[in-house]
Amino acid sequence: MVRMLEITNLHARLSDGREILRGIDLSVGSSEVHAIMGPNGSGKSTLAAVLAGRDGYEVSEGTVSYLGRDLLAMEPDERAREGLFLAFQYPVEIPGVNNMYFLRTAINALRRHRGEPELDAGQFLRVVRTKLKQLDIGEDLLQRAVNVGFSGGEKKRNEVFQMAMLEPRLAILDETDSGLDIDALKIVARGVNQQRSPQRAIVVITHYQRLLNYVEPDRVHVLQGGRIVQSGDKSLAIELERRGYGEVEAA
């Protein structure tokens, strides 16, 4: 098993100085699915944002190693081309940019980076159709502008579809389950399960245990106050659902 992600004593604060992450240690190996759970404000989304390289956070201490490289030294787009994928909690609407064109640009950026030939429109369309079928997603999403006018469920499905297309080494899903009805949740879960592979690691960030009924994690971590306060196997998620986060804090 390859060490995919190695987070050591990670501290991060907002531009106003508020410290959100206060010493995170986390190690994720390839083939593993980790779930990071925690109450609102615990730092879950900040962790995802810092890993993806979003502006507005300052890492004050600690290191993040991704496939043996210093992740924090890389630009956000370089991280993505190196195989890191973030499924956004709030996918961004981009008027005027066609979803298909966007995805083809992304895939070809990735292929150029790997020294592979770019896909032409026909080749791209064949890949798209295969993936859509696997995920049971309709083609209509592709003809629209990126996320514009999409329902909450459509936006999340679009994220999962992008993940399937980009075939990342490390996928981080930031509350992809939030606000989904049971059918949408199943589509998302199917997408995640199809992505499980010996070469890939998946980190699922979630507030609730219910996604974990469909996606079985190898490890579950509880994030609270910017630290991982407890780790365990999948039974920890069930325990959390029963006891709530307050109990964990007290423990």
Binding site: A52, R54, D77, R81, L86, P91, I94, G96, F102
Partner: protein, 447 residues
Amino acid sequence: MSAIVDFPVKPEARPYLDAFARGDFTRDRREPEWLVGYRKASLARFAELGFPSRRSEAWRYIDLRPLEERPMLPVRGPKRASDRLAVRARLAEIGLAQPTHRLVLVDGRFSREFSALDRLPSGVWLGSTAAAIAERPELLRSRLETPPLDPARPFTSLNSAFFADGFVLDIAPGFAVERPFEILHLASGDTDTSLHTRSVVVAGEGSRAAVIETFSGAGAYWRNDVVEWRLAPGAELARVAVVEEGEEALHFGEMLATLGAASRLSSFVLLLGGRSTRQEATVRSEGERSRCDLGGAFLLSGRQEANILTTVDHAAPGGETCENFKGVAAGRAHGAFQGRITVRPGAQKVDAHQLSRNLVLSSRAAIDSKPELEIYADDVKCSHGAAVGDLDEAALFYLRARGIPNAEARRMLIEAFVQEAVELVEPAPVREHLLSRIGFRVASLEE
């Protein structure tokens, strides 16, 4: 040297008066008396006005000092044969992919060689202004001698005095032409000269047509173009102007349009190239229930400056105006949009909306947006909106988070921003041409 005027003229106008008196720019032409008289009167008007003042609102965003310091006199006589290969290459680049009716002006004069006018549909007269003076003198005379909408336009007067050629399009009542008429204005490399072109478009009752004009060239020339559009009742005209002038060129373009009852004008201007470019549209809605869609965009970088001005004057009731303009400025460029809508007393039930949205891509670039509504009727719907901002950071991050390099992601967002304004442009081949020229310009915007 004969004196044209008997009063003291503005110093910056003097070299132009002297050139006119020498007559070298007209040596090759024998013009009818009425036109000679018209030119003299126009020159006198220019002498009286001088250049626009820096304090004049209509010219505050264009730096005229270089032009004041160094006169750029009209091209003398017909130009030497230009480099044909270069002209052909340029036409292939800036022209429509599948041209049908094409009129080419090289250095402000009609070029039969590069034009394609042999398949003109019936009901259409399209030719050079010089040809129209000979073949359609009444049409031209009536248009030129109609008092201008606003008499205080120095460069329009200068244009009247000096125009060498242009195009005239006359569509008979009831005729509809699907394929666009393409007019290409090329400057072939003369420097420190001015090109004055004067054109007229007349659309008969219930006729329909589309015209795309492209301005392009090489060298430090000054283009001063004036086109007059007249729409009879029920006529529908689409006009697209693409300005891709040489890097050092000045471009001042003026469109004067008069709308008859229930006529419809759609205009789109795209300013991409040229050191200083200015496109002004002055539209007078004379007939009831006319409709006017004005759109456009400028994309600027380096030290470019560009100015789009629109004035729509609703003199009749029930008219509609819809304006949508986009501006993008990178580097040290400066762009400005000025839009005025006037609704005259009694012009009730006018519906007029104006939107100007702008992207400023660097800390040294700037865009000004100045809407102006003058409403003298009480039962109207008018609105305007203006925004100036930077690229959407969240959208940029989203694209980058999918592996798209920063520069490419920025280009995608800039292009999407400008494309929105083009969506309604008809017909489709013209729209596609605009999208391709925008894509081409965006590619070098932030280099």
